[in-house]
């Protein structure tokens, strides 16, 4: 690496993509810097993955206490100190973001504080200092998309960031606009904390991108728990009045409109790339029609020494995709043979049960021309699930009949995200359903449902009748 630049690599944004890139670059001996204008850790650690999971856990504990009476454990009056809940969640965030800052120091990553903007393709201004870099990695992430008529005030009409601040008292009636992952996670939290929650989704299906059967199984459990949802429905406007937020809701098929009143409205209708203040125009870096910055398998943009990773590089906008791309970009810059060549990127809705999947849905596999076989095994037939009081859900495997190759795994289950490790490794290793079926899975574990789903592909599951 030439020494005429201040840094071998300058990363813009310290979200999961950016901090992985910077740390891996430093591990490989590069002089690395990472610029951040807000908080180290990005959306994920500060206002995304982590605080939602903290609140989800808290909500699940409230629900678990209710179900404890099934086995004879009862409690006197239950009290939730909302301020303490928010503080606990913030404490976890602080610990993790502090950890990343510490890792920067320990790895000798130069942490640049402030807004970064390009001066030219090799020069970046951060705050009021200017730095040159042989390579630049753009990792500026994404921000919530806005929707006309629903103006976020972060008090009555909130986006995901506002919804992280649990109000006291818990809102009695809540509407979530958008039927994606974020909406379901918040619905689950607030439903467990005592809100009556309704979700509306414009499209004909919730959780777009997930397997249709899995979504159905998932939706069944959500409904059972009290979360209502309507598809092909949209919100036209939301107005705060004395008795709550009046929302005009429209059935997009019939055109029928009605007004409902809620105490709080969450708007979660997608995310868009964040490029404000970056001054990207002074470079030749190309964006696509939606504003994202396309990158190749090495995470290079059309300008060879400028890389794009994470949310700003496009879908799926997930932290683990950002992390992988960050590591790949750093390794490529260090001259390593890295590529973002993942067979599949997993997705998870961290509710209870979780919806967790990786690889092709049954429909996607059919569309690609595979002769598809599936194997399904219900959690209700799992001894472990019974002992955990968590029998909702199933594991569904999508397999190519000709080669027995595993194409996709779709899990609706408690701890589903923990079982995803096996599914992801299986896809990356090119495993067949037989490989999974022949692997001994410890008893009694939820993971046995993965084994049984693989057996079911061949009509040889033991604990169900194979049709």
């Amino acid at each position: 690496m030439t020494n005429s630049y201040d840094f071998d690599v300058l990363v813009i944004g310290a979200g999961p993509g950016g901090y992985h890139a910077a740390i891996r670059a430093a591990q490989l001996g590069l002089r690395a810097a990472c610029a951040e204008r807000e908080a180290v850790g990005g959306v994920c650690l500060n206002i995304g993955c982590i605080p939602t999971k903290a609140l989800l856990h808290a909500g699940e504990q409230v629900a678990a206490a209710r179900h404890a009476s099934d086995f004879g454990l009862t409690f006197g009056e239950q009290k939730l100190d909302v301020a303490k809940l928010n503080g606990w969640k913030d404490g976890i965030v602080k610990k993790l973001t502090g950890g990343v800052a510490g890792l920067f120091r320990a790895n000798k990553v130069t942490h640049l504080v402030g807004q970064a903007s390009f001066v030219d393709a090799h020069t970046v201004k951060v705050g009021d200092k200017t730095y040159t870099a042989a390579n630049v990695i753009i990792a500026t992430g994404s921000e919530p998309a806005k929707i006309r008529g629903l103006d976020v005030d972060q008090q009555y009409i909130v986006d995901s960031t506002g919804a992280l601040n649990v109000p006291d008292p818990i809102p009695a009636r809540m509407l979530c606009v958008g039927g994606g992952v974020i909406s379901f996670e918040f619905s689950h939290i607030y439903n467990n904390l005592g809100s009556k929650v309704k979700i509306i989704e414009f499209l004909p299906t919730i959780i777009p991108g997930a397997d249709a059967d899995a979504v159905k199984e998932f939706g069944k459990s959500m409904k059972k728990q009290g979360i209502e949802f309507e598809t092909e429905t949209k919100a036209n406007s939301a107005v705060k009045k004395d008795d709550g937020v009046h929302v005009e809701i429209e059935n997009v098929k019939t055109g029928e409109k009605r007004t409902e009143v809620f105490d709080r409205v969450l708007v979660a209708v997608g995310r868009r790339p964040r490029l404000d203040g970056l001054n990207l125009e002074v470079t030749d870096v190309a964006q696509n029609e939606r504003g994202f910055i396309p990158a190749d398998e090495q995470q290079r943009t059309n300008v060879p020494h400028i890389f794009a990773i994470g949310d700003v590089a496009g879908n799926p906008m997930l932290a683990h995709k950002a992390m992988k791309e960050g590591v790949v970009a750093a390794e490529v810059i260090a001259g390593k043979p890295a590529a973002q060549d993942a067979v599949a990127i997993p997705g998870v809705v961290y509710t209870s049960p979780e919806l967790a999947w990786v690889g092709l849905t049954e429909q996607e596999a059919r569309d690609k021309g595979y002769d598809v076989r599936t194997g399904v095994f219900p959690l209700s037939a799992s001894g472990r699930a019974m002992t955990l009081q968590q029998t909702d859900g199933f594991v569904k495997m999508v397999v190519d009949h000709d080669t027995d190759l595993l194409l996709g795994v779709h899990i609706v289950a408690a701890h589903g995200s923990d079982m995803l490790g096996e599914a992801s490794l299986a896809l990356e290793m090119g495993a067949t359903a037989t490989d999974v079926a022949l692997t001994i899975h410890a008893h009694p574990t939820l993971g046995e449902t993965v084994l049984e789903a693989a057996e079911a592909v061949h009509k040889q599951a033991i604990h169900i009748m194979n049709r």
Partner: protein, 67 residues
């Protein structure tokens, strides 16, 4: 000559390949694995089974001359 296998060593072969080898009567130790570390995959066993019998045939006594 192939590197000596470690005393502890095993030929890494995926479970489905191990089963296919038993089915076809193939000795895994004779199979060249195409995966990293010589890991034996399903296709390696079928490929071996297709070539190995041919080798055996050539080693077998020649057929009796036609009358």
């Amino acid at each position: 000559t192939p590197a000596p296998t470690r005393n502890a060593g095993r030929v890494p072969a995926v479970p489905a390949a191990r089963r296919l080898a038993r089915e076809l009567g193939v000795d895994l130790a004779q199979v060249r694995g195409s995966g990293p570390n010589g890991r034996i995959r399903l296709e390696d066993v079928s490929a071996h089974a297709q070539t190995a019998p041919a080798q055996q045939t050539s080693a077998a006594p020649p057929p009796a001359p036609a009358p």
